[in-house]
C-alpha cells in the first residue's frame, strides 16, 4: 500500500465510500494540512480514543461548527504568520453540511476564509442510522422517510448544495464522486491552489444505508454519475464546467442495485419521475457529450 496520511485500522464499514474519499482528499492535500471535522461517521470511525487514523493535525469539535472552527484555525495561522503553505480543510457529512452545518458554512464562505470545505455526501444521516437529510434524494427509503401505505419514501428533492455554495460568489465550487478517484484528487489540488473559500461535494455510497453489496461501491458511484443523477461539475469563478457523460444510462441501472429504491422498481410512473430528475440535471448542467 502506498504511503498515506489516513492510516488503515480505522473502523469504517466494508465498502465505505466516505473512508475511500477521505483518504483520497488528504493524500492529495498533503501533510501541510490542518483538518477540522464535523461530528459524523468519518469522525467516529477514525478517532476512537486513544487511536487516530490521521497523520495531519486534526480537530473535531461539534456536529455543525467545523466551518467556524476552520475559520478560527485559519485566523490563528494568519495571526502567527504561518498560513502561507498550509492548507485548512473543513469536512463534514451531508447533514453536517446542508442541514445543521449550513449556517456556519455560509458564514465561512461569505467571510472569505482560505479554507476548502469538503462534503462527503452519502445522502442521509448514516452515523445515527440512516435518517433523512437535506441531501437525501427523492423517494429514498430512509428510517425517517420510510415507505408505507401513505409514503413513497423521501418526499423532497435534494437540496442544491453546490449551487448554494457557489451563490456565495466563491472562486471554486465543485462536485466529484468516489467512482472517479483521480478526479477527486485533481479537484482537491486545484481547489487548494486557489485563495479563498472553496466547496467540494463528493458522492460517497454507503453500502449499509443504501443497501447494496459492499463490493459494489465504485460501480454504484459511477452509475449515479453515468445516469445523470449525480451531476459532476465545477464552478470556477461562477463559470460552469460540466463533466460530460459519454453514454447516458437509464436511471433504473443505478436504482436497481440499491435496497433504498427497491419500491420504485415496481412502479413505472415513479421511475419516470426519477428519470425526469436525471434529464433535468443533464440539461441544467450541460452533461451531454
Amino acid at each position: 500500500m502506498a504511503e498515506t496520511l489516513f492510516k488503515p485500522g480505522h473502523t469504517a464499514c466494508a465498502g465505505c465510500g466516505q473512508a475511500i474519499a477521505a483518504r483520497l482528499v488528504i493524500d492529495a492535500a498533503g501533510k501541510n494540512t490542518i483538518i477540522a471535522n464535523n461530528t459524523g461517521c468519518l469522525e467516529v470511525f477514525s478517532t476512537k480514543y486513544p487511536e487516530s487514523a490521521w497523520c495531519v493535525p486534526w480537530i473535531h469539535s461539534l456536529f455543525e461548527n467545523c466551518s467556524a472552527v476552520a475559520s478560527g484555525v485559519e485566523s490563528g495561522l494568519k495571526f502567527l504568520g504561518k498560513k502561507e503553505g498550509v492548507n485548512v480543510i473543513a469536512q463534514a457529512g451531508d447533514g453536517g453540511t446542508a442541514d445543521i452545518g449550513l449556517q456556519a458554512l455560509s458564514g465561512m464562505l461569505e467571510r472569505g476564509h482560505d479554507v476548502l470545505f469538503v462534503c462527503y455526501d452519502n445522502e442521509a444521516y448514516m452515523n445515527t442510522g440512516i435518517q433523512r437529510s437535506g441531501l437525501t434524494p427523492t423517494t429514498s427509503n430512509t428510517t425517517t422517510t420510510p415507505t408505507g401505505s401513505a409514503s413513497f419514501g423521501n418526499p423532497r428533492p435534494k437540496k442544491p448544495m453546490p449551487d448554494i455554495a457557489a451563490a456565495h460568489g466563491i472562486p471554486y465550487a465543485a462536485t466529484a464522486s468516489v467512482g472517479y478517484p483521480q478526479d477527486i484528487q485533481k479537484k482537491v489540488k486545484k481547489a487548494l491552489g486557489i485563495k479563498g473559500p472553496k466547496y467540494l461535494q463528493i458522492h460517497v455510497p454507503c453500502p449499509l444505508g443504501w443497501r447494496h453489496e459492499s463490493s459494489l461501491t465504485p460501480e454504484v458511484a459511477k452509475l449515479a454519475v453515468e445516469t445523470g443523477l449525480y451531476p459532476i461539475f465545477e464552478y470556477e469563478n461562477g463559470q460552469l464546467i460540466p463533466r460530460k457523460i459519454a453514454t447516458l444510462k437509464p436511471v433504473e441501472e443505478y436504482l436497481k442495485l440499491q435496497g433504498r429504491f427497491k419500491h420504485l422498481l415496481k412502479d413505472p410512473k415513479a421511475l419516470k419521475e426519477i428519470q425526469a430528475v436525471a434529464d433535468y440535471n443533464v440539461k441544467k448542467y450541460g452533461l451531454s457529450a
Binding site: T47, P57, S61, G72, Q103, G107
Partner: protein
C-alpha cells in the same frame, strides 16, 4: 493610570493590552460596546489581531475554539441568549482544554425578552468546566481579565475562563479605573506558548471519541483541575496584588466579617449595595458582614465554610433561580456548609433583581429583616403583589 471610563471601554482596553491574536464576536446588548471598541482598535492598527465577524454566537465561540487550538490567545464576549446559543460550544471548549477567555455581560434570559441585568445566563453553563469569575466593580472586571488569562493558560490548568460582569450596571456604568500600562501587562502576562496545538510539524488529533472505557476519567481530570484551582486562584490574586497593589479576585472576599454573627453571601455588583447596607446596619450595632463569591467555579467550599463557621444566620442573595429548585448560590453554599454538621448556620435563600429590577440598599434591608424570621430557601424579594393579583 487612573481614568474615568465606561466599563465596556475599560474591558476593551485591558483585552487589547493582553494582546489576543484572534477576537470573534456576535453583537448582543449589553456586550456590544466591548467588541465595537476592539474592532476599532484593530481598524486603527492599535491592536494586531484578527477580528472575525461571525453569523452567530455559536460560530463566535467556534472561531475562538479553532484559533486557540492553533496556540493563539483568543477572546470573545457575549450575553444572555448569546451565551445560551453558545452553550454547546462552551462545554466543548472546556472539554478540549482550550484556555479561551470570554466576558459575559450578565443579562436576563427570554421569555419574556428582557435586556436588563441579572445572572441567569451564566447559570446555563455553570457545569461546563469553565472557570467562572464574578466582578463587583469595573476595576475588578478589568483586573479579572488579566487574571483570567493567567489562570487559564497555566500549563497545570488549561481551562477556559469566563469573567462575569453585570450587564449595564458594570458594562455601561462609569467609574474611575486604574488602568494597567502595556508594560505592566506585558510583564505580568507573557505571550501564550503551548505544545498543545494544531501544528503541521507535530501533528496531533484533538477531539477524540471517548467510549465508556475512557470518558469517566477524562471528565474526572477536569474536576480534579477545578479542585487544584482552589489552591492556584488565591496565589494568582496574591501575585496580582503584589504587582498592581490592589485586591481583586481570589476565591472569596469578606467585608466586616471579623466579629459577624450574621452574613450576606452574594456575587457581582450587588455586593457594593450590600456593603452600604452593612455599614448602615453596623451603625445600629448589628454584627453583620458579607462573604463575596469572587470565584463561582470552582466553588470555594472550604473558604466559605471557614468564613461562615462562627455565623448564626446567613442570607444568600441570588440574581438567578433554578426554576423549580433554588437560587444557584444558595444550593452551592448549603452543600458546602453541610460539612460543618452541627455547627451549620441557619441559611436562607433569597431571589432578587431578576430582569433588571433595581436592587437598592432598602432591598437588602428587606432581606435582612427576613433573616431573623422563618428560615426560607427560595424567597423572592420585592414582588409586586398587585401584578400577581391580576393573574388570578
Amino acid at each position: 493610570m487612573k481614568e474615568f471610563l465606561e466599563g465596556s471601554h475599560a474591558i476593551a482596553q485591558v483585552i487589547k493590552s493582553c494582546r489576543p491574536g484572534v477576537i470573534s464576536a456576535y453583537p448582543i446588548t449589553p456586550q456590544t460596546h466591548i467588541v465595537e471598541d476592539l474592532a476599532q482598535m484593530v481598524a486603527n492598527q492599535e491592536l494586531h489581531a484578527q477580528f472575525v465577524n461571525v453569523e452567530s454566537e455559536h460560530s463566535a465561540a467556534s472561531v475562538v475554539l479553532g484559533a486557540e487550538a492553533t496556540g493563539v490567545r483568543s477572546y470573545t464576549a457575549t450575553s444572555s441568549q448569546g451565551l445560551l446559543l453558545m452553550a454547546e460550544v462552551v462545554f466543548n471548549i472546556a472539554g478540549l482544554r482550550l484556555p479561551v477567555v470570554m466576558t459575559t455581560a450578565n443579562r436576563a434570559v427570554s421569555a419574556p425578552i428582557n435586556i436588563w441585568n441579572d445572572q441567569q445566563d451564566v447559570m446555563a453553563v455553570r457545569d461546563s468546566g469553565w472557570v467562572l469569575l464574578f466582578a463587583e466593580s469595573i476595576q475588578e472586571a478589568v483586573d479579572l481579565h488579566l487574571q483570567a488569562y493567567k489562570i487559564g493558560e497555566d500549563p497545570r490548568i488549561m481551562l477556559p475562563v469566563m469573567v462575569n460582569m453585570d450587564g449595564f450596571i458594570l458594562t455601561h456604568g462609569m467609574e474611575v479605573v486604574d488602568m494597567p500600562s502595556q508594560e505592566e501587562v506585558d510583564k505580568y502576562l507573557p505571550s501564550y506558548n503551548t505544545t498543545y496545538k494544531l501544528d503541521i510539524e507535530h501533528p496531533q488529533t484533538m477531539g477524540y471519541l471517548a467510549d465508556p472505557d475512557y470518558y469517566l476519567e477524562i471528565r474526572y481530570l477536569v474536576q480534579q483541575t477545578q479542585q487544584e484551582l482552589l489552591g492556584i486562584i488565591p496565589q494568582v490574586a496574591k501575585e496580582f496584588q503584589k504587582t498592581f497593589g490592589r485586591e481583586s479576585g481570589g476565591l472569596i472576599q469578606t467585608y466586616r466579617m471579623e466579629d459577624a454573627d450574621q452574613a450576606f453571601v452574594a456575587a457581582g455588583s450587588v455586593c457594593g449595595t450590600i456593603r452600604d447596607a452593612i455599614d448602615e446596619l453596623r451603625s445600629k450595632g448589628r454584627k453583620v458582614g458579607l462573604v463575596k463569591i469572587a470565584t463561582y467555579r470552582p466553588f470555594p467550599k472550604d473558604a466559605v465554610a471557614a468564613a461562615l463557621k462562627n455565623v448564626r444566620e446567613v442570607a444568600v442573595v441570588d440574581k438567578s433561580v433554578s426554576l423549580g429548585g433554588f437560587g444557584p448560590f444558595y444550593t452551592d453554599l448549603t452543600s458546602s456548609l453541610s460539612f460543618l454538621a452541627g455547627k451549620m448556620p441557619k441559611v436562607s435563600g433569597f431571589i432578587l433583581g431578576l430582569g433588571g429590577r433595581d436592587i437598592r440598599v432598602g432591598s437588602i434591608h428587606d432581606v435582612y429583616e427576613k433573616l431573623g424570621g422563618k428560615q426560607v430557601d427560595c424567597e423572592f424579594i420585592g414582588l409586586k403583589q398587585e401584578l400577581l393579583a391580576e393573574t388570578e
